[in-house]
Structures are given as C-alpha cells and as structure tokens.
C-alpha cells in the first residue's frame, strides 16, 4: 500500500469520524412526532378513515394508545394500538360528527420512555350547508391548531452534553495524532 493511499484513508477516517460525531447527538433523543394524518391544525372536508402518527424512530409495542377527543373534552374513541415500525394508527367510526377534535397519543419510544402528545384538526364536511349537520357555520370556522401542545412529556431543551463533546474531542485528537505520526514516519 503506498503511503499516499494510506494517508488518504486516514484523512477519510478522520473526516468521517467528525461527521459521525456531529450527527450523533441529534440521533439520541426520544421519539419525536414527524407527521400525522390528519395533519396538525388541518381543516378537512372528508371524514378521516383513521388517525395515524409517525415518529422518527421505532416504537415499542408497550401500551401504545390513541384517543380522539371532541372540543368539549369528551372522548369519542380510544384504543390500544400496535405499532408498525415507526407508525401507530387508529381506525375511526364512519359517522364522525363535524367539529374540532384533538387526537392524543401515548407511545413508548425505543429507550423505554413514554411520550405523550396531541394534534388538533377540524372536520368540516363540504356538504354541511346542504345536509342536516347542525350549525355548520360554527363548526366550519378554521381554528388553526386547536391544541397548541408540544409533543413531549418532559420539559427539556436539547443542549450538548459536555462529556460527550469532550469524549468526541479526545477521540478526534487521537485520530489526528495517529495521522500525524504516520506522516512523520513516512518523512523519516
């Protein structure tokens, strides 16, 4: 192996180490909600067949549940759900009334921590004016996000861990020392 090749390999290793280290901290959080159907704050004209929540990592099949609540706080439907990979889904009854809803979830992230959260949506059927649905004007009001709720149970901010940073720094240093030693040996 020529020393130039070796040096290149070492350089690539050093760079990939730095890249990996930079990405590592963001990967170690709890499950976070990445999307939902219906979307948070959406106004939909067709009754959803189901509610689904998708997270940024796999969920543990441990007491995951989804609840649909009306604006007056009453529970419309609630059930335990089995996750499929990163997603949990709850089928809805076909006769959903027009109105504002909260869909709340409790899932268990891969690290074993329960995570709760909720989204809000408004169901405003397009034919509400023609049909017998009560007070469509009131229910069709675009409410935006009905539930301004963040998705974690814990108050927390994502800061860096000084020890993790230190460890990464030391390891990067070691790689650089090895690189430097290799180059010196080549020179002598």
């Amino acid at each position: 192996m020529s020393s130039r090749t070796t040096r290149r390999i070492l350089a690539i290793l050093a760079i990939s180490t730095v890249v990996w280290a930079a990405g590592a901290t963001s990967a170690s959080a709890h499950s976070g909600l990445t999307s939902s159907t219906p979307a948070d704050g959406s106004v939909i004209s067709e009754a959803p067949a189901s509610i689904s929540f998708t997270f940024d990592e796999e969920l543990l099949p441990d007491a995951d549940s989804i609840s649909l609540n009306a604006a007056d706080g009453t529970n419309v439907i609630s059930a335990k759900v089995q996750p499929t990979g990163n997603t949990v889904e709850l089928p809805l009854p076909a006769d959903l009334q027009a109105g504002e809803y909260q869909a709340a979830y409790r899932v268990v992230s891969a690290d074993g921590h329960p995570v709760t959260g909720a989204i809000g949506f408004t169901y405003a059927p397009a034919d509400a004016g023609a049909s017998a649905v009560a007070s469509p004007a009131a229910t069709a009001e675009p409410s935006g996000s009905a539930v301004p709720i963040s998705e974690t149970t814990e108050p927390e901010s994502t800061g860096g861990n000084p020890w993790l940073g230190l460890g990464i720094g030391v390891l990067i240093g070691l790689v650089l020392v090895v690189l430097f030693a290799a180059m010196r040996r080549r020179r002598s």
Binding site: A14, S28, G73, A146, G159
Partner: protein
C-alpha cells in the same frame, strides 16, 4: 505505517460503538423535601434524586419572592444535593436545576415546597382549558394548591410553567371519585400555564392546556 492505520481503524470503531447504548433521559425520581410538600422545619439540605447519573450545569434555591438564596449544588452519582449557605427561612421555597443526562439532553426542572405554615389560598378559580375539561384551582395565591378536573382520570401529570420560573413543576394526577386531581405548590404570583395529561384506567388520553393567574 500499517500499525498506524490499524490504530486509526480501531479508534474509529471504538468511537462508533461507544455512545450507542446511552439512549436515555434522566428524570427527577424524588426529592427531599418532596415537591409540593409542607415541612414543619427548614431542611439543612435539599436532595434531588434522578433516574440515572447526570452532570450538573446549574442549580439554585429561590425564596418566596423569587430571590436567589446563596447555596451550593453538588452532584454525587444520581443525587443532587443543594446546601444553603445559611438556614432557610419559613415560606415557599423552590429549588431549580439544569442537568445533562448521558444522552446529551439538557433537562430543566424545579421542585417547590412550603416551610412552616401554609399561607391563605385566596378564592378558588376556574381555569379555561382547550379541549374543554372543566378545571378548578382551589386558590389564587402562591402556595400549596390543588387542581381538580372533571375527567375520570386515574393517572397522568400536570406540568406548570411560568415566565417567573426557569424549568417547570410537575404534579402527579390521581383519581378522586368521578373526577381527578393534582396537588403541589405554585411558588410565585403571575400567570401559570398548565398542561394536563389525563389518562383513564382504560388508557383514554386527553391533553388539555389552560392558564391560571395568581395574585400576591
């Protein structure tokens, strides 16, 4: 040369392997005095126990006015011990912390308790919530208070935040007949935002938010 290469490869592999298992947050498990409690005598230290070893970024003790009381915070494994420089005075006392758990997450939190006699609670107030869950707070002054929810929850938590407090206060939710309730201490006057997660015995979940206002 080859040795150096081998060392670099091994070093990188070690780096890739090491942080992976550390995927957990640290939670506050308990404290002495406990959050929301009434204690007859001023404690000489406040001890906070976390679910895992943490590093301490900051801690403080606040008196009833929100002023910082001189104190020293030291962490030993999972236990943070706050030692005030002089004896704590009677009244509402709050300990705040900012710690980093081994997955690199920074967690802010606080516990509040009352030393000596609880003060007057003032008139009860109802809290408007979204989605609407009839909610009543049994007072309107800082101190030991109870929130009651017209929801048959058997577990859950209420998280209180305020511009006057860094970190948040968490009250556990218990069943109380056909309603549910949560108790604790709100230490300061002003607006407090409540986020209540109410979970029924069957797992039905509602998350409701609202704001209470406390007067001095």
């Amino acid at each position: 040369m080859r040795k150096a290469l081998v060392a670099a490869v091994l070093g990188s592999l070690l780096l890739l392997v090491s942080p992976a298992p550390a995927y957990a947050h640290a939670d506050l498990v308990r404290s002495t005095p406990s959050n929301g409690s009434l204690v007859a005598k001023a404690p000489s230290t406040i001890r906070l126990t976390f679910s895992e070893a943490v590093t301490l970024d900051a801690s403080s003790i606040l008196d009833a006015s929100g002023a910082v009381v001189s104190s020293h915070g030291a962490i030993n494994g999972t236990v943070l011990t706050l030692t005030p420089s002089s004896a704590l005075r009677p009244g509402i006392t709050t300990a705040t912390f900012r710690i980093t758990s081994n997955d690199g997450h920074q967690v802010d939190g606080a516990v509040s308790f009352v030393i000596g006699k609880p003060g007057a609670r003032g008139p009860a107030q109802s809290i408007g919530t979204t989605p609407s869950v009839a909610t009543r707070l049994n007072g309107s002054r800082p101190g030991a208070l109870t929130a009651t929810f017209a929801n048959k929850a058997s577990s859950g938590e209420v998280i209180w935040t305020s511009p006057s407090l860094q970190g948040s206060l968490t009250w556990p939710v218990h069943a109380r007949g056909k309603t549910s309730e949560a108790s604790g201490v709100l230490p300061f006057s002003g607006a407090w935002t409540m986020r209540a997660t109410l979970i029924s015995a069957k797992g039905a979940l509602v998350i409701t938010t609202g704001t209470a206002t406390l007067t001095p």
